[in-house]
């Protein structure tokens, strides 16, 4: 079972982002999350890095240094197969959570 807390949600967003793109640096992930959620999800941008490093240590994502379009060196992250599986589980977990919350709201 995935953890249904805020950290779990951030993980889910990052994993989902990386699942849609081949590889992305931290700033790119932040931009993507902000754009895709219509600026609704505002996280402190720095807080994504501890999450990225933790996920890398857990083997869900891998990283490499590469040049950006503006020729700047940046660390790019990529989803691993373990990460893909994790994303799948996290999505399911989140659906469960949402269903649970919806059911609660309906009968409350």
């Amino acid at each position: 079972m995935a953890r249904n807390d805020l950290q779990g949600s951030l993980d889910l967003l990052v994993l989902k982002t990386l699942a849609q793109r081949n590889k992305l640096h931290g700033y790119g992930i932040v931009l993507h999350i902000q754009r895709a959620s219509d600026e609704m999800l505002q996280v402190e941008e720095g807080s994504i890095y501890p999450a990225l490093h933790r996920m890398e240590q857990s083997g869900w994502i891998s990283s490499e240094w590469a040049l950006t379009e503006t020729n700047r060196k940046a660390k790019y992250y990529r989803l691993t197969s373990a990460g893909r599986k994790q994303l799948h589980e996290a999505e399911e977990g989140f659906e469960q959570l949402v269903k649970g919350v919806r059911a609660m709201l309906r009968y409350a």
Partner: protein, 893 residues
């Protein structure tokens, strides 16, 4: 592995710091660029970027924590979890740790002995440059030698070699002052014994051994043959408690006064393989202090053709040992033949060789010892393989039994690598505990080994051994990590939750293969142990050609009698006193103690015709009257040496049957002449062959001279007493009688003659005991492995057996099914083990005594051993299987 990467991260902190900094900086800078592109001023863009980012240093700390501290946290959690799991199955944990400890410990102990004997370098500066000089073809013909003929050099040869610095930058000479310890005395104290060497002046400087206190010997000491002595650090600390005032005091060595000038650096035990040297003095001129201590007519400086010094050489820079020997050979040969007959066809020119100064090799006949140790190392490695495979099987079986647990945990969301990490932690803990226990075991074992082998040297483990044990343990840990990985990752989540009677059959074949290999190795070990045991028995039951029971032997060195005449008178009186003792049936002398490894050798001249040593090596000994009768050696023809054979009577000699067969065949040997014309001996008797140097020597031509007519090694004689009871019980009586003659005279090494011969194969005894211990250990491990596997399989097949029995199978059929399984493994193992055992026997050929490498009895004994182990290991599982009740078995599933 994520775990390893994390641990690695801990040590790469600074580099990681830099990487994280760069990553965060890139983020902020990209945001600033985008802000400027969106129309902000640089200052605004920067402030906005920082506000959006949050506190960079906190972010960095948290990212670092994610990288590193998480690792420790997880590691600690894994270890705690593993410990908890192991505590739940204490028998499994104890068996594993004990098996590993025995395997690793035994291997470490033998490796440390091998390290000390074969590999350890001298405790000197640049020890890899040091080589012992050798003479593979012995001394040049016509030279006299004392010590080991392969390593003895003359003083002039030594000086020539030392002078030529192109090949060897230093050549150092050394020789013991006596065959064993010599008498020393400090101040007015009592006489005591110490191991002393005489050495060249450049001995310590050439080795690079400094003084702990005082000074070391110098070239000036050698040139002056100075009365200066240097103590070893160990002797200084044990005898004088490290007292600084010892330096400058006088002492006496064999009655000659010396001044103690210094103490050698700690950890330098000298170069003698028999044991540590206590003190060193410079080369001496006087007749009392000569190398080996037992020559009456030769002195170091007065006898240029006396080969008695051992040489250690340091290679000149940039010269290989081969080049150096080639370079030094010409001047060596020129000096070697300077005063004696030039080499000819019968006695070819000898040349130098160099042997790396490693371990105890290079001195004496330690080559055979090295060979034995290598064989022991090979045998103990087999034990280690069996032990490790046993542990691997145990772990696999345990994990197979836990498959349901793994599947359950994986179904509950545990990642596969988490499981693996925990299994790895379990294996790691087992290996670490096993290796630590094994190390302690090895420490104790090496101490015991040194005592049994009667080596006064340290066999103790050093860093090289530690490295070895570490490597073995890491390999073991990796093997055990791989084993559970297979069974754990193969655990199918969906299937494993079903009834699990179906799983586990897959690993059956793997288990049987491991067991078969184990049986094959065990068979090899049993055969090797059998061969060595039979060798030992052959030593014990060798016909020595004499009656050793009841014989007491001790050495006597007359102190006050200096001249030949007084010495002879002393010996005659001593013999009369000994004969008169109650309980003594006969007494005689012998020059070289039988069975001690010492011998005198010569080239025979029969009726004026000389045979070279390589044609007919002649062994000689000087003996007292009634020698053959007292020792119980049968006389074949003529007469024994008699009391009437005195210094002035006709010179006579008694031969053995091998001599007669080789040099006087089909003749009556009595009356023929042995020796050069001017100094010949008339043959008066022929004795049956008997053992001389050692038990395992082949019969050689032998000549017994009366001690009265041959002054060879007359300074010390061995007294042989035939007693009619326990020889050692006679000792006080004998001692009293000797002291009545001379109160200062000690009995040297009094022993029974049986014990002397037994000591001559003490190494063989030690190694055959070791081999037996290894074989028993292997048999025990294989038995445990077989027992465990069979019990496990029967446990797994309870249902199957129940069904078979319910369908009408007889109990007998079930039993034979299980026994068949056990014997199939044993049979396959023996089939694989026979060629292995034959190879092992072949390799061991050189250390076997009167035994063929393919000795049928040893092979048969090994076979019986394996069958026995299989039967014992199957007994309990078979009994359990026979008690299976079909109804209960079927219900339990």
């Amino acid at each position: 592995m994520a775990l390893l990467r994390r641990i690695g991260n801990l040590f790469r902190r600074s580099r990681l710091d830099g990487e994280i900094d760069a990553e965060l900086r890139a983020h902020i800078e990209m945001r600033i660029e985008d802000n400027i592109a969106a129309g902000m001023t640089p200052q605004e863009a920067r402030r906005d970027a920082l506000v959006r980012f949050g506190n960079p240093s906190t972010t960095k700390e948290r990212a670092v924590a994610a990288d590193a501290s998480l690792a420790l946290d997880n590691l600690w959690r894994d270890i705690r979890y593993a410990l908890r799991q192991l505590r739940k199955s204490p028998i499994f944990a104890a068996t594993t740790v004990l098996t590993l400890a025995l395997g690793i410990g035994a291997t470490t102990a033998i490796f440390s002995a091998m390290n000390a004997v074969l590999l350890r370098l001298l405790p000197a500066a640049n020890p890899k440059q040091l080589f012992f000089l050798h003479l593979p073809d012995d001394q040049p013909y016509g030279a006299h030698s004392t010590g080991d003929s392969e390593t003895s050099f003359s003083l002039p040869v030594f000086r020539v070699l030392r002078q030529d610095r192109r090949a060897f930058s230093e050549v150092m000479a050394f020789a013991p002052l006596g065959g064993s310890k010599v008498a020393v005395r400090f101040g007015d104290g009592l006489p005591e014994q110490a191991a002393a060497d005489m050495v060249s002046g450049n001995f310590f400087s050439g080795l690079g051994v400094a003084a702990a206190t005082g000074r070391m010997l110098s070239m000036a000491d050698e040139d002056a043959n100075a009365p200066a002595a240097v103590l070893s650090y160990a002797y200084w600390t044990s005898r004088f408690s490290g007292n600084q005032n010892v330096v400058g005091q006088t002492m006496s060595v064999k009655g000659i006064p010396f001044t103690i000038v210094g103490v050698a650096a700690e950890g330098f035990p000298g170069l003698e393989q028999e044991g540590p040297t206590d003190l060193w003095i410079p080369l001496q001129r006087r007749a009392e202090l000569v190398p080996w201590g037992n020559s009456s007519d030769q002195t170091l400086y007065g006898s240029p053709d006396w080969w008695c010094l051992r040489l250690l050489a340091r290679l000149a820079p940039g010269v290989s040992a081969q080049q150096a020997v080639a370079e030094a050979n010409a001047s060596f040969q020129a000096e070697a033949y300077a005063r004696i007959a030039a080499p000819n066809a019968a006695h070819p020119r000898i040349s130098l060789s160099a042997v790396a100064a490693k371990g105890m090799m290079g001195l004496g006949d330690f080559n055979e010892y090295g060979q034995r140790i290598r064989i022991m190392m090979a045998l103990v490695t087999l034990v280690l393989v069996i032990a490790c495979s046993n542990v691997a099987m145990l772990i696999v079986a345990r994990n197979a039994a836990r498959q349901r647990e793994f599947s359950l945990r994986m179904a509950l969301g545990a990642a596969r690598h988490t499981l693996l990490r925990q299994l790895l932690a379990e294996s790691g803990i087992l290996v670490v505990l096993g290796a630590m226990a094994g190390w302690l075991f090895a420490l104790a074992a090496t101490r015991a080994l040194a005592t049994w082998a009667e080596l006064e040297m340290s066999l103790g483990p050093d860093w090289k051994v530690l490295l070895f044990t570490g490597t073995v343990s890491v390999i073991a840990a990796l093997v055990f990590a791989l084993a559970p990985m297979r069974s754990a990752t193969n655990a199918p989540v969906t299937f494993a939750l079903r009834t699990w009677a179906v799983t586990g059959h897959r690993s059956k074949r793997g288990g049987s293969t491991v067991l078969t290999v184990q049986v094959a190795l065990c068979f090899t070990l049993l055969t090797a142990a059998g061969l060595l045991l039979r060798t030992l028995l052959n030593y014990e039951h060798t016909n020595l050609g004499m009656q050793t029971r009841g014989l007491l032997v001790f050495g006597i060195t007359p102190q006050k009698e200096i001249t030949d005449a007084t010495r002879l008178r002393f010996y005659q009186t001593l013999l009369q006193r000994m004969r008169a003792l109650p309980g003594v049936e006969g007494a005689t002398f012998v020059g070289a103690r039988l069975g001690s490894g010492w011998s005198s050798n010569d080239e025979p001249t029969v009726d004026g015709l000389t045979y070279s040593f390589s044609q007919v090596p002649l062994r000689t000994n000087v003996v007292g009257p009634d020698y053959l009768r007292v020792l119980g050696i049968p006389l074949l023809e003529g007469r024994d040496i008699r009391e009437s054979d005195t210094a002035t009577s006709q010179h006579v000699v008694v031969l053995n049957e091998t001599f007669v067969k080789r040099l006087l065949p089909n003749k009556n040997p009595i009356g023929h002449q042995l020796g050069e014309l001017k100094d010949h001996y008339t043959i008066v008797g022929v004795a049956k062959n008997s053992k001389y140097r050692s038990v395992d020597e082949a019969p050689r031509a032998m000549a017994y001279y009366p001690y009265t007519q041959n002054d060879d090694s007359r300074s010390t004689l061995q007294v042989e007493l035939r007693t009619n009871g326990n020889p050692m019980a006679m000792l006080p009586t004998v001692e009293r009688a000797v002291h009545e003659l001379d109160p200062d005279l000690p009995l040297e090494k009094p022993m029974t003659q049986i014990a002397v011969f037994e000591d001559s194969y003490s190494q063989q005894r030690l190694f055959s005991r070791l081999a037996m211990f290894f074989a028993l250990l292997a048999a025990l491990l294989v038995g445990i492995g077989l027992y465990g596997t069979l019990s496990y399989r029967i446990g797994r097949r309870t249902a199957e057996i129940g069904i078979r029995m319910a369908l009408g199978a007889q109990r007998r059929q079930v039993l034979s099914m299980i026994l068949r399984e056990s014997f199939q493994i044993a049979g396959a193992g023996i089939a694989g083990g026979i060629p292995l055992a034959l190879i092992a026997g072949h390799v061991m050929g050189s250390i076997l005594y009167e035994l063929k490498p393919d000795d049928k009895l040893s092979l048969a004994a090994a076979l019986v051993g394996i069958v026995g182990v299989s039967l014992v290991a199957s007994f309990n599982p078979v009994r359990r299987a026979s008690r299976i009740d079909p109804a209960t078995a079927l219900r339990s599933e």
